[in-house]
């Protein structure tokens, strides 16, 4: 390939069929090292005016631009393109059109999860473990390789929620669990919710669990392990009583 061009393959999904198209990216300068998003924007301008993909901030913050690059989830706005890369929709959620997947089955499984009453003193600081979790941009890269999420039936049906959880939903629960303002009596409910989303499976598969966060949160140590511990010791307590 000429040094002022880059060839990529984009996987499109239309009329229930999936197929690949080739796009030759024209660099804006010889030393440009474009991101995947730059390529998609140019492809929409030059060749496929109805190319459908998500983006928002272009700066790794909004979390909506995740696509698979050669089969692995990446943020389109911060992943550099190499010659012959394959850009496809993330494989862990149902595709609606081209690179667009339906996302809302994930948040919907959390409806009503936060029932904390507000009568606390608000001038309390949270530990850094709490803030480590608010770094999550909800990019859903962590669905890849999640043994629980794999059990979900991904067929698109209106606005239904998924039954089984994933690292993101557990991150939300763990964040609530370690919030210094969450009263002790509420913690039981949080663990129950985690269990209803299938936390048990994580216990069984913990050793082989390969989940990777798109922004580098240590999901195993900071989310899964503490939740498993809490779920386990909570049961003990019950037995003792």
């Amino acid at each position: 390939m000429d040094s002022d061009k880059l060839k990529v393959r984009i996987k499109l999904f239309r009329d229930k069929k999936s197929f690949e198209v080739e796009y030759i990216y024209k660099k804006k300068s010889l030393n440009e090292r474009p991101m995947v998003l730059d390529v998609l924007l140019q492809a929409q301008e030059e060749k496929i005016d109805d190319l459908s993909f998500r983006y928002g901030c272009r700066a790794r913050n909004c979390g909506v631009c995740t696509v698979d690059i050669n089969g692995k989830p990446r943020l389109a706005c911060r992943a550099r393109v190499k010659d012959d890369d394959l850009i496809s929709p993330i494989s862990t959620l149902p595709v609606i059109k081209d690179l667009i997947v339906k996302r809302d089955g994930i948040p919907r499984q959390m409806i009503g999860y936060n029932r904390i009453p507000f009568k606390n003193n608000l001038n309390v600081e949270a530990e850094s473990s709490y803030h480590n979790l608010t770094a999550c941009i909800e990019c859903y890269a962590c669905l890849d390789g999640c043994p629980l999420h794999k059990k979900n039936n991904l067929e698109v049906k209106n606005n239904d929620a998924y039954s089984y959880g994933n690292p993101f939903s557990f991150l939300k629960l763990q964040r609530l669990y370690i919030d210094p303002l969450t009263p002790e009596e509420e913690k039981k409910g949080i663990i129950e919710k985690a269990k209803s989303l299938g936390l048990e499976t994580y216990k069984k598969e913990y050793k082989n669990l390969k989940i990777k966060c798109g922004v580098g949160i240590n999901l195993k140590d900071e989310v899964i392990k503490p939740l498993l511990n809490a779920a386990f010791s909570y049961q003990n307590e019950k037995k003792n009583k």
């Binding site: 474009p34 913050n61 909004c62 909506v64 667009i100 809302d104 948040p107 959390m110 803030h131």
Partner: protein, 648 residues
């Protein structure tokens, strides 16, 4: 028209947008026991609120003497007396409670243990006369989680994402709101929703200037277009805020924030391409002054290769004693902006050894739908010189106008969205409870028909390409620098574009139809651009975020007025001017003297011999960085902070 392509729904309140103002509005209405539907075109809570720098104005957080009056006056004066007094007062009144509501949903700031208040930034933000800006770990993301949690929490809130709200539906005989229609792209349906109240919380219009913007792609002026089509007036639409120091290259980083005036620090200057200084004491200047200096150089042909100027901080770096403190300051003051700059401009630039190429970017729309202090949208009648409520119609957040006038101080928008989102939601709930009458289906028919007329299999033009052209023209003609001649050219360009949009290709399928989405957004962008252009033509002097290259700055004693844009029955836009109340003379003079004092102080330091200067500056850094060490780590970006303004 196909009946099974339409889904009919009924709720009490429709909230458009799931950012900060949308989630606060939904919360208020849900707490009142109503059934709420939140519609957002981006995934849940993905919004400017989520990607922002997360610094929020909380009255009294850093200073007991920060009264409501003090804060309200501060906003009003900074906004050139254009802000609406009742709205600035509501802002000052509610900022604390609004902040606590966010904390109830998990926003966790650092705490100043001595005062038992949220900890404010070590340096007051430029333009604020009190320390009241609170920073947060993970910046806007921490707000994103709160908004997400708030919407998910209530069982009486339904939400639809990937859904483009198109227009409100009114009962034409009594002008009351009866609902709205939306395009549900992921389910491939038209939603036809009955509701007595609609709250527009759909953000701004900066995408008009893409890629010269740091905001979310969804800011296509939908709020303003929906608002004016529903009969509301738009206020101060010429007042767009541009951030001066954004990146001009490489393409992937274009438009993103590199720094604020404070980044320039004590010795930073702006230079043109001939290396001539075009602005000194950068750190004490407002965003507007910096933008103006850059845009004037560009207009004179002295701009940098990508249409900006050079922010030269090398003198800070070279200084013998204070140089090393400068680097520490640069990296810690605005970490995410610094990261952008270092990644985009390379290692040498990262060390401030070479100047940075910077260019203004569109950041925030200060104008918007005219509302009262409860977010109730207003129409305007010229003859009686009176505003009138549009019953059931509300706007909040960036969608509304009247709070900031010609200048928004850093960290105030997060407060705006929390305060007015909630006020609008609460008022809407009260209104709906008093209006029990059943809504008739017939009001919706014409909207359904119009929707299906958007498709055109034989269209000649592509909406996406028209959009790109509009974005280029917008920067050139209604961007950070404007001229009467250009504004007139923009008007005729937009009229031509209107004609082309009628002939745009939109294939007739409903499942995620990108051509339809592009067309809908393009229409809203055109309408918003028209409002901006018409308002700018009537602001015939420089005031606020942009510069009029062919006119003078505002004279300080001239009478303040706001522009109003209205739509007449033939869909033409008209302009009116309304007078604004001037802040009393003494308060005004005090404010000005304070401003001048700071500037002269800085100039005085600059003319001292190098070794004296170096020492003075070293001490200043020690003060800032010292107090910084005990303060929280902020990834903040929107510090307009001036290091000299340190609060003791």
């Amino acid at each position: 028209m196909d009946k099974n392509k339409i889904i009919k729904l009924e709720y009490d309140v429709i909230v458009v947008g799931s950012g900060g103002s949308g989630s606060s509005a939904a919360q208020a209405a849900a707490e009142a026991g109503l059934n709420v539907i939140v519609i957002s075109k981006d995934p849940l809570a993905s919004s400017d609120t989520k990607i922002c720098e997360g610094v929020m104005t909380v009255r009294g957080a850093g200073d007991e003497n920060d009264t409501e009056e003090e804060l309200a006056n501060n906003i009003k004066l900074a906004g050139g007396d254009l802000p609406d007094k009742k709205i600035t007062e509501a802002f000052a009144k509610d900022s604390k409670v609004a902040y606590d509501r966010l904390r109830e949903h998990g926003l966790r700031p650092s705490i100043n243990k001595k005062r038992n208040t949220p900890k404010t930034l070590a340096i007051a933000m430029g333009g604020h006369n009190k320390s009241r800006s609170v920073g947060h770990k993970n910046s806007g993301l921490s707000f994103g989680h709160v908004n997400w949690d708030t919407i998910i929490k209530f069982k009486n809130i339904a939400y639809f994402e990937d859904c483009w709200f198109l227009d409100v539906v009114k009962n034409m005989s009594n002008e009351k709101i009866v609902g709205g229609i939306a395009y549900d792209a992921s389910n491939g349906k038209l939603l036809s929703i009955k509701a007595k109240a609609v709250i527009i919380a759909a953000g701004g219009l900066s995408t008009l200037f893409f890629p010269k913007t740091d905001t979310m792609r969804g800011n296509t002026g939908d709020s303003y277009a929906i608002g004016i089509r529903a009969g509301a007036a738009l206020v101060d639409m010429e007042q767009i805020q541009f951030l001066p120091f954004c990146l001009a290259s490489p393409p992937s980083y274009e438009g993103l924030l590199a720094g604020e005036p404070a980044t320039g620090s004590f010795l930073g200057v702006l230079r043109d391409k001939y290396n001539k200084v075009i602005l000194d004491s950068v750190y004490l200047r407002t965003r507007a002054e910096c933008s103006e200096a850059i845009m004037r150089a560009v207009a004179d042909g002295r701009g940098s290769p990508n249409g900006g100027a050079f922010l030269d901080m090398t003198a800070n770096k070279k200084a013998k004693r204070s140089g090393k403190f400068f680097m520490e300051y640069l990296k810690s003051a605005l970490p995410s902006a610094y990261d952008n700059a270092r990644q985009a401009l390379g290692k040498e630039a990262g060390k401030a050894e070479v100047p940075w190429e910077v260019r203004p970017s569109a950041h925030y729309m200060m104008g918007g739908i005219k509302v009262d202090e409860f977010g109730r949208a207003l129409s305007y009648n010229k003859v009686s010189n009176k505003t009138k409520k549009i019953k059931g119609f509300y706007a909040a957040g960036q969608a509304m106008g009247g709070l900031f006038g010609s200048n928004r101080l850093g960290s105030t928008s997060l407060t705006e969205v929390a305060v007015f989102g909630y006020r609008a939601g609460k008022d809407a709930a009260e209104y709906v409870k008093q209006n029990k009458k059943k809504i008739d289906d017939t009001h919706f028919d014409i909207h359904h028909k119009k929707f299906f007329q958007l498709f055109n299999s034989n269209g000649k033009f592509k909406a996406y390409n028209l959009k790109i052209d509009l974005q280029r023209k917008s920067w050139k003609y209604i961007g950070a620098a404007r001229k009467k001649k250009d504004l007139l050219a923009m008007q005729s360009y937009l009229d031509g574009l209107d004609e082309k949009v009628k002939d745009v290709l939109v294939k007739p399928n409903l499942s995620w139809n990108q051509q339809l989405i592009e067309k809908l957004e393009l229409q809203n962008m055109i309408l918003s651009a028209k409002a901006v252009t018409l308002a700018s033509l009537n602001r015939d002097f420089s005031l606020g975020g942009h510069v009029r290259l062919d006119e003078k700055r505002k004279r300080i004693f001239s009478k303040p007025f706001s522009t109003l844009i209205l739509m007449d029955s033939s869909s033409k836009l008209k302009l009116e001017k309304i007078q604004r109340e001037r802040t009393n003379f003494i308060t005004f003079i005090k404010y000005k003297i304070n401003e001048l004092y700071r500037l002269y102080n800085a100039k005085f330091i600059r003319i001292l011999p190098d070794f004296v200067k170096d020492r003075i500056i070293e001490n200043k850094y020690k003060k800032i960085l010292g107090s910084k060490a005990e303060s929280i780590e902020i990834q903040a970006g929107s510090l307009e902070a001036a290091p000299a303004e340190i609060n003791k």
